[in-house]
């Protein structure tokens, strides 16, 4: 007997999995990965060609993952409320927290499936080109999944109290800031401006450091990614997801259902 969280997750998985927009974005990712071969061709150095394949393929996965997390995550709860489908759900022995968690897990499950398919595609692609795919590539895609999980949680949080458009913008802003926190600290060290110290430090601690999920450099230069790093990253991701979803369920509980 499954708990209500898994039941809601399974239902969300099926519902989102049939979404046309998702299929379109997925096709775009596949097209981008295939096209990255052409882009790599522009480089005369052969060693760089394979590196470009990996770089552009993983960048495409990252960008489209951001797009999907921002668009689908922000409308997750709003769609339920607009279509009033959650009345028959919440009248049962399901708390709102369980509901939010279930919807989130279903959505992330869809993303994980998509990423797994892309991973298989990329491994096959490399096999065709004769380059060994290697463990770092899989690690980079797993890191991307963790990043998408955190972004989706942030998107759900934002969607629980603002409109989908604003929360999508907020998610993109979070992605930008999250990837640049270390760059900003570096800038701080370079310039040494006192006035920027507090704001940048605040940004560093208040936002998830998304570059901790970034193993694309290791994938393109075939550097090892130790499993301990992946374990730390998973724990870090779970912490941030818990934080965001906890806040989201708080907002959702206060929400007046129409």
């Amino acid at each position: 007997m499954k708990g209500p969280v898994l039941v809601v997750a399974g239902n969300t998985y099926r519902e989102v999995g049939r979404d046309r927009m998702l299929h379109l974005l997925g096709a775009l990712v596949v097209g981008f990965v295939l096209f990255s071969w052409v882009l790599g061709w522009l480089n005369p150095e052969e060693a760089d060609q394979v590196r470009h394949l990996v770089d552009f393929g993983l960048a495409g996965v990252n960008l489209f993952g951001l797009l999907m997390a921002a668009l689908l995550g922000s409308s997750l709860l709003r769609r339920e409320m607009e279509r009033r489908t959650l009345y028959t759900v919440l009248c049962r022995e399901v708390t709102r927290t369980e509901f939010v968690l279930g919807k989130y897990l279903g959505l992330v499950g869809v993303f994980a499936t998509g990423l797994a398919l892309v991973a298989v595609l990329m491994v096959l692609y490399f096999a065709i080109f004769g380059a060994a795919p290697g463990w770092p590539l899989v690690a980079a895609i797993y890191g991307n999944l963790l990043e998408i999980a955190v972004l989706t949680a942030a998107s759900v949080l934002l969607g629980s109290f603002t409109t989908p458009a604003l929360s999508a913008i907020g998610t993109v802003a979070l992605w930008l800031v999250g990837h640049n926190t270390e760059t900003l600290l570096e800038y701080l060290q370079m310039t040494g401006k006192e006035a920027l110290e507090i704001p940048f430090q605040t940004l560093y601690y208040a936002f998830p450091n998304l570059s901790d999920f970034n193993y694309r450099l290791a994938a393109s230069f075939e550097l090892p990614v130790p499993p301990s790093v992946l374990a730390f990253a998973t724990v870090y991701a779970v912490l941030w997801v818990g934080l965001f979803l906890g806040a989201a369920s708080l907002f959702f509980r206060r929400r007046e259902l129409p």
Binding site: M1, K2, G3, P4, V7, V8, G10, N11, R14, E15, R18, R83, R84, T85, Y87, T88, V89, L90, C91, R92, E93, V94, T95, E256, L257
Partner: protein, 324 residues
């Protein structure tokens, strides 16, 4: 099992709406109780707060004040909903599911075993008349079909208490008969049914008790018999060969309604009429009384009398209260 299935005391709820977030009080201290094992109707005009009360009972909304208990447990405790079945007004479902999958989904949410869900799905769908559409996607369902599925999902986990919001809306007469039979069947099994409706005839047929809400408060509650009172409320009279003047003579100034029906003249006269006097006055006018049918007060009359025409909220003033 306690004797009272639902107990509500002093429930208050207000909404904020509009740009300036103005408050409008929907419920202003609603108190009633629903005895166990009975079918109880919850009556009121559109917008007075019936749906709000029901949603508070099922935990979809939080009240601003007052207490509500369902099956002996406070409403905000999710455990109480294990034994409650709810049918929302105009239910909506996930369009990508078939009816069977939807039942499986709801069964899983109610922590039922898959086998138990399987065993109950088809009989329930047959009972509500959806057996033929069991494998069609819910996106293709008509409003009536959705309503029936809503009833089915409310019954799926065999709850002790059924809370139904306008269960008969959107249904054709066969559907309404179906739902009425279901309610009676469940009541016979010892379940409690608490449903809201503005179709008073249905409530009269099915319910033992009724609670009437108007203007954010309960204006009347009790057994249907008690509410309507014993005795004759009025007579329906049909006379041939005499005009309205004959009625006037029998009960001057208190004739409520009359119309010509071919060669018959019909009217309604108050219940304290003396039938002999009527026969006399009609005979004097040269006619003959064809029909003399005593009628009790209907809920509709009660409703109108207790000010149920208000549109709820601020507007309108409640009429006199009749204590249970």
């Amino acid at each position: 099992m306690s004797e009272v299935a639902v107990r509500v005391d002093g429930l208050r709820k207000s909404y904020r709406s509009g740009f300036w977030r103005r408050r409008s009080e929907t419920l202003r201290g609603v108190s009633f109780s629903v005895p166990a094992g009975r079918a109880v109707g919850y009556l009121g005009a559109n917008g007075v707060g019936k749906t709000t009360t029901l949603k508070i009972l099922v935990g979809l909304l939080e009240a601003d004040g007052g207490t509500a208990e369902v099956l002996g447990m406070p409403v905000h405790d999710p455990a109480c909903r294990r034994r409650v079945g709810f049918l929302p007004e105009n239910p909506y479902f996930y369009e990508h599911l078939t009816a069977r999958e939807a039942m499986r989904f709801y069964g899983g949410l109610s922590r039922m075993e898959d086998r138990a869900v399987e065993a109950r799905t088809l009989p329930l769908l047959e009972k509500v008349g959806l057996a033929a559409a069991a494998d069609r996607r819910l996106g293709e369902f008509s409003k009536g079909m959705r309503q029936r599925l809503g009833v089915a999902q409310a019954l799926l986990h065999d709850p002790e208490l059924l809370i139904l919001d306008e269960p008969m809306s959107g249904l054709d007469p066969f559907g309404r008969l179906l739902v009425k039979d279901l309610i009676l069947e469940e009541r016979a099994k010892g379940k409690t049914i608490f449903f809201s409706s503005h179709i008073l005839g249905d409530v009269e047929e099915v319910c033992d008790f009724a609670v009437i809400i108007a203007d954010g408060r309960v204006t009347a509650s009790g057994t249907v018999q008690g509410l309507l009172g014993a005795g004759v409320a009025e007579y329906e009279v049909a006379v041939r060969g005499a005009g309205p003047a004959a009625f006037e003579a029998a009960a001057p100034g208190r004739v409520r309604f009359f119309r010509q029906d071919g060669e018959l003249t019909r009217g309604r006269l108050p219940g304290d009429l003396d039938p002999a006097a009527l026969h006399a006055s009609v005979a004097a006018a040269g006619g003959v009384v064809v029909e003399l049918v005593p009628r009790r007060e209907s809920l509709e009359d009660l409703f109108v009398r207790t000010g149920g025409t208000a549109t709820g909220g601020d507007a309108g003033a409640g009429a006199g209260r009749k204590s249970p």
